[in-house]
């Protein structure tokens, strides 16, 4: 439905349209189809590519319906529509997870501080919420304003979910448009959540050089009582740490975490330790090092109560999203809950943050007393593996296609080298154990083979500073900083975890800006050089050429995309306010940013990536992500690459596929590196910038492929673009393929190439 007067008035009131920080742009608080024409323009070039998991639709009682060939379901949907529907559902799940996290934090913090609690991100961050400003048109000032952001996201989710119902949307393209919309909302939700926790828990902000924190399961001092927080919501941990401090026992305990709660715990206190990413959850919890496990939300194993029981760890669940069938003791007195846990050995659900934090602080020293925490020895592992017949059933269920049987049978024979290699690639699902006819606890045997080294990670710093954007805005847009490489997402890696550090280092050495978050930020810290330094100790932590920075947990991803928006705003002076289409167009054509989600597995990662795509940021995915079933690919040079020259107001066929894809899966680390270097190319690059980008693309391609890139002709516009070191070689190659110079642009934009209310002048500053 189009917006009526009442709706417009409601929006004006929500965003305080009378505030004059910027004029209100064309799309304040857009609804699901308000940016549809932008989506359709993107999808014209970057068409959805589908890899169905199965041939059927089994959503309603009409079915199952065969969707192969030209078949349609009983409702009329075809295979593409069904894949589009899956894509929308994934995006909704991801957005909802971040949104619910944000909602929980805001409700908790408003309860604590009141809705008028001010947003203050420090002296270096004046553009505090680029997503809220750009998407909604609201410049948030208080926690109450952040709540408006979440309410807006919640409203969008209802409409999105509704569209997935049987007998609603049928077009795959419109499903994709809705996915893109939900992906955009996800970035609003993440931004709201991270600003809320930054101001509420006083996380670092406006500082680049945050402290280093301990990383790795080997960094945990198991002689102390150990609490391990699993999930993505640090609220309970912050209260627990406060209690430890108040009791004067903080130095006597180890506060550890897995996944993003761990990242955010270090933002609250750099004395906390990060055990590792999701892929090490089962491995670590199986060790029994954790005397107490606290679960919150997202990426938490569903069998933690069983794991805790098996090792004798105490368990407190704290989220209504993960209740595990446990007794809800929220209403009971603290002393009674402590008694239930410590004397009756009960696992409990406590849905009150403050109560859960206090209980945790009180029970930890008690439950830790007398517990033996022994890591599986080589002798013990050999004993556990003695029944292995190398039947290979474990190999057949490994999602990472690993040769588990060879490693396990070696352990049986007292050899651990293969198991150590396997552990580096293991994604920690435990399916191998389930399949083993001899019930060998394979993950447990890994304790004897794994490295117990300790590493460092730089504590998440939150938003990119406005002053940093002022410094790098021009070189990014001109191309003389070759690109922003955002390495994000989960730990479903196809090969060794160390690949993340290797990729990050490759780009940092080449003076790209490397930004990390979440599990990828942890993984990047899990490799040391010959001097024992991790990537965080080798490169400066600034948002600048050659910098390597950790912004924080999953929800801090919004600061990475927010930085691209800030380039448009702070450097190019484009207004953000309710001006999404113009800002996304600017980023697509001028900001050489690319995301890498090498181990993406979650719906959140899908949603984040889809949000990046709507704002013109391409995303490279690892091989496992083919199971998301949808990508956005161009047909490279065979597509129409016409754009508008904003200054001349002329349509120009650039013949240049840049950026070439919006969402692509690649097979290997080396190919990912080459692809990312190419995806940083933008139509706006100056000759100097293009030379630099091509220099990296060519050198990487030659290193890994042995020749000049065979699509080089697509990216050389004229002689000035050719890198000097390759001048002769490239000139000869271009001649051999019949290359001709391409038209030059002064201001590339898609605005004007499709029907839109946005005037071309809106992109000219």
């Amino acid at each position: 439905m189009s917006k009526g007067k009442a709706k417009s008035e409601e929006i004006n009131e929500t965003i305080r349209s009378e505030d004059n920080w910027e004029p209100v742009g064309p799309t304040p608080m857009p609804e699901m189809s308000d940016l549809r024409r932008w989506d359709l323009r993107l999808l014209k070039t970057y068409k959805p590519f589908y890899s169905p998991f199965c041939d059927l639709c089994c959503f309603c009682t009409y079915g199952k319906c065969d969707l192969t060939g030209d078949n349609k379901g009983a409702c009329g949907i075809n295979i593409s529509g069904q894949q589009g529907r899956w894509a929308l559902m994934f995006a909704l799940m991801g957005c909802s997870a971040h949104g619910a996290h944000g909602r929980h934090l805001i409700d908790y913090l408003i309860d604590k501080y009141g809705e008028d609690y001010k947003i203050d991100l420090g002296g270096q961050v004046a553009v505090e919420a680029p997503h809220m400003r750009t998407v909604m048109g609201l410049k948030p000032e208080t926690l109450g304003d952040l709540r408006k952001g979440i309410e807006y996201v919640e409203r969008g989710i209802i409409h999105g979910v509704s569209a997935t119902h049987m007998g609603q949307e049928g077009s795959n393209i419109d499903f994709e448009s809705k996915s893109l919309h939900i992906g955009m909302l996800d970035h609003v939700a993440m931004e709201v959540a991270d600003i809320a926790q930054t101001i509420g828990f006083k996380f670092p902000t406006s500082v680049a050089e945050t402290p280093l924190a301990g990383l790795g399961w080997g960094s945990v001092d198991k002689s102390k009582p150990v609490v391990t927080c699993v999930g993505h919501n640090a609220a309970v941990a912050t209260v627990m740490i406060d209690h430890f401090m108040k009791m004067g026992t903080y130095d006597q305990v180890e506060v550890t975490g897995i996944c993003c709660t761990a990242i955010d715990n270090t933002r609250y206190s750099d004395k906390t330790k990060i055990i590792g990413p999701l892929s090490k959850q089962l491995f670590f919890l199986r060790t029994g090092i954790a005397d107490l496990i606290i679960t919150d939300e997202q990426c938490v194993r569903c069998d933690i109560p069983d794991l805790a029981r098996a090792t004798g760890s105490a368990l407190i669940a704290t989220s209504d999203k993960i209740s595990y069938g446990l007794d809800d003791v929220t209403h009971k007195e603290i002393d009674e809950i402590v008694r239930l846990i410590t004397q009756e050995g009960k696992q409990v659900l406590i849905r009150d943050v403050d109560k859960a934090g206090e209980v945790a602080a009180k029970v930890l020293p008690i439950v830790a007393k007398g517990r033996k925490k022994e890591i599986t020895t080589k002798e013990k592992a050999q004993e556990l593996a003695k029944e292995c017949k190398a039947c290979g059933l474990c190999d057949r269920v490994c999602p990472n296609l690993l040769n588990i049987s060879a490693a396990t049978s070696d352990v049986r024979d007292g050899k651990f080298e293969k198991m150590a290699d396997l552990f580096a690639k293991c994604i920690g699902c435990g399916k191998c154990e389930q399949e083993c006819p001899k019930s060998i606890p394979i993950i447990t045997t890994m304790q004897a083979a794994a490295s117990w080294d300790t590493f460092n990670i730089r504590v998440g710093r939150g938003p990119i500073h406005d002053v940093e954007i002022r410094k790098v805005g021009m070189p990014i847009v001109l191309g003389t900083i070759p690109g922003i490489i955002a390495i994000v997402g989960c730990s479903n890696y196809p090969e060794e975890i160390e690949e993340i550090a290797e990729i990050a280092e490759e780009f940092a050495k080449r003076k790209y800006i490397v930004v990390l978050s979440g599990c990828a930020a942890m993984a990047a810290g899990m490799k040391k050089d010959a001097e024992g330094k991790t990537i965080y100790e080798k490169f400066k932590p600034d948002f600048d050429a050659g910098g390597v920075l950790n912004v924080g947990s999953c929800v801090a991803n919004s600061h990475i995309t927010g930085a691209a928006m800030k380039v448009a705003n702070i450097f190019a002076k484009l207004p953000l306010r309710a001006n999404y289409e113009v800002i996304a167009d600017y980023i697509l054509n001028r900001v050489g940013a690319v995301g890498l989600a090498w181990g993406a597995y979650s719906q959140k990662a899908f949603s984040i990536g889809t949000g990046c795509n709507r704002m013109g940021i391409p995303v490279v995915l690892g091989p496992h992500s083919a199971k998301y079933r949808r990508l956005y690919l161009s047909r490279k040079e065979e597509d129409d690459w016409t754009v508008m020259d904003g200054r001349k107001k002329e349509l120009i066929n650039t013949e240049e596929p840049s950026p070439e894809h919006l969402s692509i899966v690649v097979e290997s680390k080396e190919r990912a590196i080459i692809t990312m270097a190419k995806l940083c190319i933008r139509k706006n690059d100056t000759a100097q910038g293009r030379q630099l980008k091509l220099n990296h693309y060519i050198s990487l391609y030659k290193q890994h492929m042995g020749t000049l890139p065979d699509d080089l002709q697509n990216f050389v516009r004229n002689d000035k673009d050719i890198p000097i070191v390759y001048k002769k070689e490239v000139a000869e190659y271009l001649k051999s393929v019949g290359w001709k110079p391409k038209p030059l642009l002064t201001l590339p934009t898609l605005i004007g190439t499709y029907e839109s209310n946005i005037p071309i002048d809106a992109v000219v500053r």
């Binding site: 590519f49 589908y50 890899s51 169905p52 998991f53 199965c54 041939d55 059927l56 065969d66 192969t68 060939g69 295979i79 190999d395 057949r396 269920v397 490994c398 999602p399 296609l401 399916k431 196809p494 091989p623 496992h624 083919a626 199971k627 079933r629 990508l631 690919l633 047909r635 490279k636 065979e638 692509i664 899966v665 690649v666 097979e667 290997s668 080396e670 190919r671 080459i674 692809t675 890994h704 492929m705 042995g706 020749t707 065979d710």
Partner: protein
């Protein structure tokens, strides 16, 4: 329907592959093709089969029938070491994206291919890509040459042990040469 080796990554559907157990029969199918393409995945230079790498068998197949070639990931460098300059160097998803289009000109610009063989791609990624082709490329036949059942392929090998696979590939090459 035969189960694939890595059955963890594969769900069944209504349209499954035909497992060709006789290499001579597969040879006949391939020889009927007018514009065959062999896609080399990144695993084929690493798979060692008692004296020869899988990539060498791929090279023999290409030479036997004059098939067009596509090197994915970073396989191009290895192929060149074996004396083959691949006709194209797309990544796996990109070549599949092109193959979907019946009007695509193919890697040699002579028209889209009618039969595509795959060798050395990760099974999970390969299976997803074959699903795309099963659903969106009815104009072409797909053949997998790895020793695993690929349910979404048109023609697949059975799940084979290394020695049987080697035997199969040798039989196939002999058939293609005859």
């Amino acid at each position: 329907m035969s189960l694939p080796l890595h059955y963890v990554n594969v769900l069944t559907g209504l349209k499954g592959c035909r497992v060709i157990e006789d290499p001579q029969a597969l040879g006949k199918i391939i020889k009927k093709s007018e514009r065959p393409l062999l896609v080399f995945g990144p695993r084929c230079p690493d798979i060692f089969l008692n004296g020869r790498y899988a990539i060498e068998y791929g090279v023999d197949i290409v030479k036997a029938i004059g098939a067009a070639t596509c090197a994915t990931a970073c396989t191009k460098k290895k192929l060149m070491e074996y004396g083959i300059l691949p006709d194209s160097t797309y990544d796996i998803i990109e070549i599949i994206n092109h193959l979907k289009d019946p009007d695509w000109k193919g890697v040699k610009k002579q028209g889209n291919h009618d039969l595509v063989m795959f060798l050395g791609v990760r099974t999970d990624l390969g299976n997803q890509g074959l699903s795309t082709l099963k659903h969106y490329a009815p104009h072409l036949k797909t053949v997998t040459l790895c020793p695993y059942v690929y349910p979404h392929a048109t023609f697949s090998l059975a799940n084979l042990k290394a020695d049987k696979w080697k035997e199969y590939l040798e039989g196939l090459i002999q058939s293609l040469k005859s």
